[in-house]
């Protein structure tokens, strides 16, 4: 059974509660859990293994330095991701003056045409992809590459909302953005990932069928 984002969220909140209460073992478990999460988030945002290691370590130092600012354990996730995200921005090798790349909605609307009076749209057959299908290696790779290839402002939103399971409000707080901006960026990020998966499903049916069998 796959653990849900909700399960993981409750476990992290409980861990934060134990950490703030000074319970034995909480420090070790907290460091391992959040260092891994911050490292993985940073790896896709920064794109460099060494930077991600440093961001994870620097984030933990800042977390323990500012621990008195964490009043509610329920807020542990947005609180840590905000620290991690800001640390990431300082670490990234791209110039802060580089133009921000935005995806446009139009590029993701599949081409439509009329055929025998009905609308036809060019998309793959997604019905072969069962919901309960655990991600096999190849599919996991396609999803990872699709996320990694997103422009930064879309990638961060998708990682926080869909991969880490933060709410729209929490994501907006982490990224210092409005909730409307989060929703717009998330939709475009999902459309871009969907497009990559659609290309994959159409271009590699043999691989797909082998994976799903």
């Amino acid at each position: 059974m796959v653990s849900t984002a909700g399960d993981s969220q409750q476990q992290e909140i409980e861990l934060a509660r134990q950490l703030l209460a000074g319970r034995p073992g909480a420090f070790e478990r907290f460091v391992e859990a959040f260092r891994t999460k911050v490292f993985q988030y940073s790896l896709l945002v920064c794109g460099h293994h060494e930077d991600a290691e440093e961001v994870a370590q620097d984030t933990l130092f800042k977390v323990f330095e500012k621990l008195d600012q964490l009043r509610e354990p329920e807020r542990i996730r947005p609180w840590i991701y905000k620290i991690a995200h800001n640390t990431c921005l300082m670490k990234r090798r791209r110039s802060v003056f580089a133009p921000v790349e935005e995806l446009s909605l139009d590029e993701f609307m599949p081409r439509s045409g009329q055929e025998a009076g009905a609308i036809r749209r060019e998309i793959a057959d997604w019905s072969a992809l069962p919901e309960e299908q655990a991600l096999r290696a190849e599919l996991q790779r396609v999803v990872r590459e699709a996320i990694a290839g997103l422009p930064e402002i879309h990638k961060t939103v998708l990682l926080l909302r869909d991969v880490e399971g933060l709410s729209t409000a929490e994501t907006a707080e982490v990224l210092d953005a409005s909730e409307e901006a989060v929703k717009t960026r998330l939709h475009r990020a999902r459309l871009a990932v969907r497009q990559k998966l659609d290309w994959y499903l159409r271009s590699a049916p043999k691989i797909r069928n082998a994976e799903l069998s």
Partner: protein
């Protein structure tokens, strides 16, 4: 599907599909989208592919793990943690009780 299918409506709703999946739209808009989907198989198929995309992203698990934490760094982190705990306890002790 009606003979004169309203492609403009498909385009308008296309922008709202993620919010529809996330149940973040007003009920009236949800009902409009549901009605359109019932009448437009291409939009319904597209929405299904988007729903599966979101599901795949939610199930995505990273394979990369950070290198083990060095002992020196762990000691420094623990020292900061213990200092923060002491500060929290001192702050809690300073909070006046109900009878003070």
């Amino acid at each position: 599907m009606p003979a004169e299918h309203d492609i403009a409506e498909c385009r308008r709703l296309f922008a709202l599909l993620s919010e529809y999946l996330d149940a973040e739209l007003p009920q009236q808009t949800c009902e409009q989208i549901a009605a359109h989907l019932a009448d437009c198989p291409p939009c319904a198929a597209f929405l299904e592919s988007l729903r599966k995309t979101v599901e795949l992203c939610r199930r995505f698990r990273f394979e990369e793990m950070p290198a083990p934490l060095g002992e020196q760094v762990r000691r420094e982190l623990r020292a900061r943690y213990e200092k923060a705990l002491l500060a929290r306890r001192a702050a809690a002790d300073c909070v006046p009780g109900p009878n003070s």
